[in-house]
Symmetry: C3
Subunit: 671 residues, 3 copies
Amino acid sequence: MLKKLYYGVAYYDEYMPYDRLDEDIRMMKEAGINLVRIAESTWSTLEPRPGVFDYSHIDRVMDAMYKAGIDVIIGTPTYAIPSWLEKMHPEVLAETKQGRRPYGARQIMDITSPAYLFYGERVIRKLMEHVANHPAVIGYQIDNETKYYGTAGNNVQRMFVRYLRDKFGTTDALNAEFGFDYWSNRVDAWEDVPDVRGTINGSFAAEFEKFQRSLVTDFLAWQAAIVREYARPDQFVTHNLDFDFSRGHSSGVQPDVDHDEVAKCLDIAGCDIYHPTQDHLTGLEIAQFGDQIRSLKNAPYLVLETEAQGFSMWTPYPGQLRLQAVSHLASGAEMVEYWHWHSIHNAQETYWKGLLSHDFKPSAVYQEAKIVGREFAKLSPELTGLHKENKAAILISNIALTSLKYFNIGMGMSFSRPGMLDYNGVVRWMYQSLYDMNIGVDFIYADHLDENADLSKYSMICVPALYAASEELLGKLLDYEKNGGTLVATFKTAFANENIKVYHDEAPHTLAKAFGVSYSQFTIPEKVSVSGIGGGAPADAWMELLIPGEGTEVLGRYEHPYWKAYAAVTRAHCGEGTGYYVGCHTTDAAMRAVMEEALRSAGIDAPYADAPVKVRVSLNEKGERILFFLNYSMEEKTVQVPASVNLITDEQYQNGQEVALGDWGYLIVKA
Amino acid sequence: MLKKLYYGVAYYDEYMPYDRLDEDIRMMKEAGINLVRIAESTWSTLEPRPGVFDYSHIDRVMDAMYKAGIDVIIGTPTYAIPSWLEKMHPEVLAETKQGRRPYGARQIMDITSPAYLFYGERVIRKLMEHVANHPAVIGYQIDNETKYYGTAGNNVQRMFVRYLRDKFGTTDALNAEFGFDYWSNRVDAWEDVPDVRGTINGSFAAEFEKFQRSLVTDFLAWQAAIVREYARPDQFVTHNLDFDFSRGHSSGVQPDVDHDEVAKCLDIAGCDIYHPTQDHLTGLEIAQFGDQIRSLKNAPYLVLETEAQGFSMWTPYPGQLRLQAVSHLASGAEMVEYWHWHSIHNAQETYWKGLLSHDFKPSAVYQEAKIVGREFAKLSPELTGLHKENKAAILISNIALTSLKYFNIGMGMSFSRPGMLDYNGVVRWMYQSLYDMNIGVDFIYADHLDENADLSKYSMICVPALYAASEELLGKLLDYEKNGGTLVATFKTAFANENIKVYHDEAPHTLAKAFGVSYSQFTIPEKVSVSGIGGGAPADAWMELLIPGEGTEVLGRYEHPYWKAYAAVTRAHCGEGTGYYVGCHTTDAAMRAVMEEALRSAGIDAPYADAPVKVRVSLNEKGERILFFLNYSMEEKTVQVPASVNLITDEQYQNGQEVALGDWGYLIVKA
Amino acid sequence: MLKKLYYGVAYYDEYMPYDRLDEDIRMMKEAGINLVRIAESTWSTLEPRPGVFDYSHIDRVMDAMYKAGIDVIIGTPTYAIPSWLEKMHPEVLAETKQGRRPYGARQIMDITSPAYLFYGERVIRKLMEHVANHPAVIGYQIDNETKYYGTAGNNVQRMFVRYLRDKFGTTDALNAEFGFDYWSNRVDAWEDVPDVRGTINGSFAAEFEKFQRSLVTDFLAWQAAIVREYARPDQFVTHNLDFDFSRGHSSGVQPDVDHDEVAKCLDIAGCDIYHPTQDHLTGLEIAQFGDQIRSLKNAPYLVLETEAQGFSMWTPYPGQLRLQAVSHLASGAEMVEYWHWHSIHNAQETYWKGLLSHDFKPSAVYQEAKIVGREFAKLSPELTGLHKENKAAILISNIALTSLKYFNIGMGMSFSRPGMLDYNGVVRWMYQSLYDMNIGVDFIYADHLDENADLSKYSMICVPALYAASEELLGKLLDYEKNGGTLVATFKTAFANENIKVYHDEAPHTLAKAFGVSYSQFTIPEKVSVSGIGGGAPADAWMELLIPGEGTEVLGRYEHPYWKAYAAVTRAHCGEGTGYYVGCHTTDAAMRAVMEEALRSAGIDAPYADAPVKVRVSLNEKGERILFFLNYSMEEKTVQVPASVNLITDEQYQNGQEVALGDWGYLIVKA
């Protein structure tokens, strides 16, 4: 939790075509910018040759910012390596499935390479010695958007075999659990464990990815520990977590990082969120990924990067920059920082534009930022230290995500092939329906769930495609329902164990009780629709031929000459609770219909389900409600507000008063 | 020829998550399963470390099956190698055009590698010593779906150069025949023959593929010889031949294997056939590929693998499993075996489901198998030892298939590019039209046609896109027509010789006489249709600008402002026979119209051409006709049967009696 | 300038399946063929083993041609290497971004490899010694369609670092200009300059491509110098320049060669032009690429290769071969040569057919060639030594083309990705509109523009997407307008300097004055159209949000709820001239509307703008106009001619007389 709302930018004095520092600070002040992040990814200017350090860019920026009253976050520079390091130690480049990566881009190194770690540690220590005591510095970002970059060389695989030995004890246990007898993959000696890069065994491949994710956790914990040796008690350590980007913007759970594990070494969670704008600005990405990051520590978080202008197709319409900024606050952020201040004049991201265009002039977008800056200053006292008390949660799992990649549905097609439905598509499908009804949502990270984790605080837990899950996890979910919870799951849940060994009883294994269904057949729907609650919506991608148990209500059936014998959507009671199971993928409207039922079962109110705009709610320490009304549209909309005060204009509203929001407009009230 | 109809499954005790042998046998008996295939592809459990053999899975299964009266086929395990072999001898992995293959999948080895052959021979001998005298064992399957896996390393290419020297004698002869002068590819020393993997010379590339196919023939003959050293006289040797799979199911002639050559080392021909189901079950694949395999030895054959449930999109509708099983019998199979008994719980083929689902419960499909088992038992005495006396045949050639891959039609597009018409598309186009009219078809394997082969037993021979063919073969076809046969050929026939050197007279070379046409121009049709017999059908993919000779009838012309001067479909007489030539690709309906004419020329009756269902006919040793009426549709159909007896119900039918077939139903009668 | 019109073929005695020389010459004479090109690409027959030369094919062809009165061009054979060279020196194969190229194709070598140059020089000298004094030989083609084949191995990159040192002097200057600080790419020692193949820095990558283009220039200059040591004064040196082929035919500026630089070592410019035919024959490619090549030396040029039949889809309609041949003359060619005489019977280009088909018979196309031959002979006295005096020009730049490849617009998409608009698409867009109005066009090669180049001879200069341009070049364009010229530019012009460093003032930098606009925002249009001059045409691919300056006329605006505030198309005056700026890509019709305005500003008459056929004009030495009327359509068209004489029929026309042209017909008159 910060002391105020921050409105910031990433700032690269290093990339400037001429000295702009004073002018930039003047323009920042004018726009209400009160934070910059520096030093991230600029190793080659900080250490232009091995062991020679040049702090000049950092010094002049820290000093000038301090003088201007702008706070500074220092980023460690380790996510892009200098060419001298690669020339001296070519082995620092990750050896992946596709071979050794070439030098050039960021994020190409083997994060376990001793040479990389040696030079990385030295530059971090030198930087920390230099900056830790500077009064402008409020915190540190360790590395940036860290992932494992496909590292899979010999050194990594030898560590992996040790990990397998620790996990399984004997090769017989390994063979049994992974089904290595198939296609003669059985090993009877640890040294015969084959190179994982050619495997056709999803259990083996997914375990390796899990291991690779643990390398990221270890790497960031190692960096955090070094930084903490120097950091002052009033300074925080954070990291810029990012998301699946397979749809060209922040799109879902990050497959290569266990966010929950990484969060353990951070004081404050941070992330970047990039999203479409113009006609495609719906607020969904800002909401979903904010909810994911807030849930890590159940606390305010930092948006360390988001777009001002960004990709060419994202040039914002007038009003969108403002709406986007407060949308982050509505999810619980206390900092909104643009990547980046100025557009860059060379290389890869020339067209990922900053707050300023290449001409450094006060553009339309900059003019709008000035309004945001003023409004942030006004909102700051009321919008720091907020929290949420959501009754609904979505349970997510990287184990499930990874395992679905290795779930080959036929004709060589994996469920997660580009252009097809994937795990993140199912997560988004469930999230979308709740978001559309303005239901606040937390996320539960299933893979390292604390033994003592209390699920009972939620009235409803949604479980998208939890394909691979341990007995323990499934038992917890069953208990949750028995104890009165409402559980909503989709197809492909509870099909395999955590090692992607398919459970050899009827699906969905332990949860058959929770949902009152079982099945052993499934197919790809062709000319199939869902009647009843589905309202005739077409099924696509996947369908399970559900056999309802006794007492199970069939909410939707398949419309099809032969599959009509089977259920598509069901409701059942188990213990004190209720379970909904959705056996196929279908439309957003059909999912919403299911969720409406589930909310009713869970006793969750949805007062704003039919609001003409998005409504999001936080609470302050006094328990007062802060309501955000967000108009993601080109049309003016009128909303009814409770008795409340407008936090921008200080206007008092009576209960039920109608207030107009302009296109892309917003309203924040305290009720 | 077997003593009874077999209804079987591939069985993998090795893959079981717990001991199920007794329960599985109980369920098999209940379903009428009387055969299992075991030991195929499980080298790593049979020889878990080099030289140490563990027969326990094999022993317990053989013993238990014997006790239960279920016969056993033993598969040699060589198509999937253990990881210890790859760790000791990395060179066993095939070096292909794309480099050395990684360990993991099956079918990745260099089948000429001495290390592979050494260990392969040892494990086969150890296995044979152990099983040959077991009373349960009725035969052997050598390896599985063998191909050459792209093997093209130095050792293979050095053998290939020796092969070229034997074939051509001098480099001058090689240069002339392959046209190596083009783009400076001429060689004047055998050691300068370049690596074939980079070549742009289709003659050279196709010759190498022909050589690679001979490696498969040699490898399987070597295995068969080893197995025969141990096999009892009452045991057979077979192999599981498979087909082109480029459309995601059995799709055509197998490009990588000369089925006719491999068949020489087998006692009984065997194959797998995988095909779409649900709305896409037409019976065509079962018919075509059954006809191909039956024609190898003109004798009953084994379906060693076919799907029970298979790919997710193939989950059968009720009734389809039964219909599929008897469809194989209708082609002349005496064994129908599912791959596989149970669905697997890990790895690549987790979603290629067996007769049992992952839960091992008696599913809907298993229930239907019980009916099949009963019916097979009932049909067995009548449906063993059948044969066919077809008057129509289709001539197929791997040389033509391969050469068409190297026929570049322009803009870098090869005729056989994914998504475009290819050789197998043309074969299927011709087969489909005959299948639709319920005409029984044999296949003639052109590439190694016996000098004494008697084509005159056929009244009609269809020749799809025989792009590359020797003078000898073309001479035989011309003689066939002269002697009264009806020849039906498509575009691209007789364009090049067997070394893909284009004939330098007018196309179609020797066959110009047979068809009474010639041409030297061709193009890709755009807004062109075929009048006359084509009925206005659009031409696509390819068209030849045919110039009819004297006396040639033009059955169809091109409708086009400029191409109308040329013929599209022609009929001519040569000697006693008749030749039809189809100069372009067009619709199925247009091909059927041509075939109707050709059948008339050939004097082939088509009594069931307009039947509402598919009708297939076999003969027993007494010459009695066995008729199969197969309803590949969701609708009930009524058929008229001859005076006959229903082989399932023993009901007697009068001539012309109407019998109803339910959806996906069938009827087998003896007339 | 040649002494007569040449109608020729590439002839390969080496590829013949049997001895055809006498028969071929007989047929050539009958068709009016008076030139053959030989010896190109046949190194392996000329030097079948190292140091052993066999001139027999060359000798017999030269002698026979001489006897028949057919002139000969000798091609050096260096663009396809023999296998013995690769076996002796594998390093002659280019090492590219994708690794070492395999042997097989042509154009696979490292053109800087000493081994290649050593053997290449020897075979050229041997050939030249042998042929230079033969009376049949009129000139030489050095190599063929030379490019750099992606060569990027260690030797090439070490030369490149030297080149960078020469260009920049210090690494600091390099770092600054290329923006190497970004992502830690900064170098502080020349030996740390990283392998360019992995770079994410477009400045660095584009500079390397510029350097690679200079290797082509050097290589051809080296060949020309060797050849000139032997050539007689009456013999010319030329080269077969080719074009971007990314659309499957000659499609635009050749990205890998600086045509203007290569032209300096040639006596006469030569090229190949390949284009669609049938319904897609519009004459555009023949016109555009002829104009490009003619502009190199502002003189007649050679079409050293074009298709007779070519790709299967290009089989010409009756009349098209004739029309194509005279279309080349209409652009200023004095030689039209087919690749090739006969179709080849093996390898890659079997289906790229020559004037003769594989059967060598006098086909329909050959019959039409006989007409062409007669007409060329008739036209020869009038159509040699022509020139053009065009008032409009299009400025093209390989620097701009390359830089646009590295202009990433978002989501990893480059502007020049397959299927998207690219530089050549914009060039063609501008050219098309002028071509449609029958305006003669020259091309200006911007990259090595002579300091003294006189732009003022043009009334209008069109500037397609000149993304990267030096201050000098932009200054020249501004001065051109100030001095009275009309400048027409599209979006993305003048955005970055010649090193692809974006200019850090308002776009379009120096040219903001020329066009009276500026902008700092742009986006990808979605549901945007262009009003006014655009007539409601949809914008696509790219749009700039133009802010018009004082006095600037807005000819077209964006129709869109938010972007309507900005201009799309503008006109402004600067000094004595006028500047048109088109801020987005849109339809051909909209571009034509702009061009109509611009022609008016430039005072360029367009007398044939509405002619029913294409009209092209040249001048002879007396200043008489030669008019070509070319009917690219299936319909008969009637044209009005001036007082003139028909150069084929000698018919006299009165001014305004109507003359009918058949489908694909033409008319050439002298006015």
